[in-house]
Amino acid sequence: MGDGWCTDTGESVYRSRDAVKNLRIRVRIQRVTSTAALSQHLHQQVLSQQERGVIELDTFSSHTQAASTIDAEELVVGWQEKFFSQYEMDLYQTESNCQTPLERQYHTEIMGMERSKRRQNQRIFTYTDFDRFSKWEEQAQSLLIPAQPTPTLLAERMANVRHRRQERRPSNVPKSRLITWEPSEEFIKNSHIINTPVQTMYIMGDLGPSGKLGLKENEYVLCTIKSDSNGVITIKPDFNNNRGAYRLETQGEKREVWRLYLENASSHIRAEEKEREQRMYRDLYTRHKEYLNSLVGQDFEMFFLSVSAQGYEYDNLYVHFFLDLPNNWSSVPFHCLSGVTQTCRTHSVGKDVAFFSYPFSFETFFHKEDESDGSLPQWPVMFFKVLSLDFWQRYRTEGYGFLVIPSTPGYHRMTCHTWRPLQSGTVAELRRFFIGGAPELEDISYVRVPGTFKGERLSRFGFRTQTTGSVTFTLNCIQHARAFIDANTLKKRRQTVLDQLGGHSQQGSVYNVLEAFQRARKRMQEARETLPRDLINTS
């Protein structure tokens, strides 16, 4: 009567960590008739006056009672709990109608119920996941107006597949027979269609006129509940939650209006059980975390690494390289700082390239000795020479080059060009061509700055060279220093290694001054805020 109808019949999604079998829904339907409305109105009036003890309830309550058995019903439905409709009871009572084992089971249940004469429901009944209703419903009902006569191919396949629950297959891939050459229909259905393992349940109401229950056309869906294996429960329409009843209108000749109320009647988990469950979860998680922690561990060490070399432009080449450490750098003793690659013949990829893929790794240590020494630290340099050794055992130098190890950590790919020294005159070239042998540098550090150089200007005047090919190095550098740890713990802005190690004193002091200024400024601002307003304004 005065109720506002709830028009929002959209579905709503709930997430539950608890098993869905604990779900309970209270369904109440009530036919809207004039007498029912009147009796309800009177009932409410009586209730409000009951405190004053004026009118007795008995006369009205009996009237409402009589009506309620036929025109209203309330039922608490559990998940996948089967309640039979009148139609089903009539159908499954005769044994010959039962074809599948499920129907035979229904038959035995119904006979049992008939014998014991206990029946909880009259109008409200349910279709569980195992009944054939869900497939029919999806095929029969079309989403469009005008209704499409046949469902699409996909809808048909989904209807066949979806209502069957699929167990999670363990994710180990079979090691043999990966391809199924002749897939069966079943296999195609399961593999080609996305199968969401959803369990559905329908709560139905038989809304026929009282006395004529059991007709199929009077069945209406009251509520659809879907649950998937992840704890997601979809209920359409949602619980009323004091929003007003849902309005159901029958389709027959007499269009009748029914009210529908849905309520969540699942029992709340008791406090102590909840406590126990949470404690169990917490234990489980901490134990798992401890286990992972124990795998990972506590210690560490220091290192500096660099990696593979490749590529050149001549035939049967190999590279001989070594690392030169300037002052303040040291290395682990017995650690090999030089290497020789294999001899590689070139092949043409565009131009002739030789691939070495030679691994090497170095570990070096830097000691910051003197802070007053204002210069930046010098990084190690790698010198290399490329040589060729051919079938006739002719040995030639092909080039010299150097590479400064980059000061930033990370992945670097660098190409270095090389040159080889020339001797004036044709004799040297002829010798090089026919028998091999070529001028070599005595001190390979001459490539960059000779170790013996002490003056101010380096002069290479008179030294003749010829450009030869290039070598590509890929390096991964990692830097590890205690200064980084301190910086992190003090939460300073992280500076690069150059700032930390070189020029520490000068830049450090400037930085300290700036920091101190910032701190003082902040203190002043805070102090200002605490002062009363008028003091600041007047001054």
Binding site: D299, F304, L305, Y318, Q342, F355, S357, H480, A481, N488
Partner: protein
């Protein structure tokens, strides 16, 4: 201790004389490293490209290492093989790369080389196939005795690796 995640794929190979290739790969790390999860070696499928030169494998790599020290940073080594129409397998190249030490996504090219025998062997190889192989594949990622080998360069294998580091900065390692 610090952790390193390597997530990526072996995309494919290009530049080899023949196209139908497969790759055997493995990751080798030093003694301080421990593999927590993931497969550290495997073999891709044989890919026969119909168009173009590159053979695509898209083989996934998903590894989780934990380490006590920086020594023995993991290296990925590969062997590229060719399977011809008769089903014979022939070695086409060895190669290796270090897993990058800076976090992020890296697209890497790993070049490969193949050992050569004497000229008689090379002649026989041209007709019958086969060819020398390394007795122990450790030589792919160690440099010790390489100078004794005579090799020829072969194609390139492309990889894409995403590197995630954890707790390295706690020990003062910057990368």
């Amino acid at each position: 201790m610090a952790e390193l995640h390597i997530i990526g794929q072996i995309i494919g190979a290009t530049g080899f004389p023949q196209n139908s290739l497969f790759c055997k790969w493995g990751v080798h790390a030093g003694g301080a490293w421990r593999l927590l999860s993931g497969l550290k070696e495997g073999q891709t499928q044989v890919d026969i490209p119909q168009t173009g030169d590159m053979a695509y494998w898209s083989h996934p790599i998903d590894l989780h290492y934990t380490t006590k020290g920086l020594q023995g940073w993991p290296k990925l080594h590969l062997q590229v093989w060719h399977q011809d129409s008769f089903g014979r397998c022939q070695l086409y190249g060895y190669g290796y790369i270090h897993v990058p030490s800076s976090p992020g996504q890296h697209r890497l090219q790993c070049v490969t080389w193949r050992p050569l025998g004497s000229w008689q062997d090379q002649l026989a190889e041209m007709f019958v196939g086969g060819g020398p192989q390394l007795r122990s594949p450790d030589l792919i990622y160690s440099g010790a005795d390489r100078y004794r080998l005579h090799t020829v360069g072969m194609g390139t294998v492309e990889l894409e690796l995403c590197v995630i580091l954890r707790h390295f900065d706690r020990y003062g390692v910057e990368s």
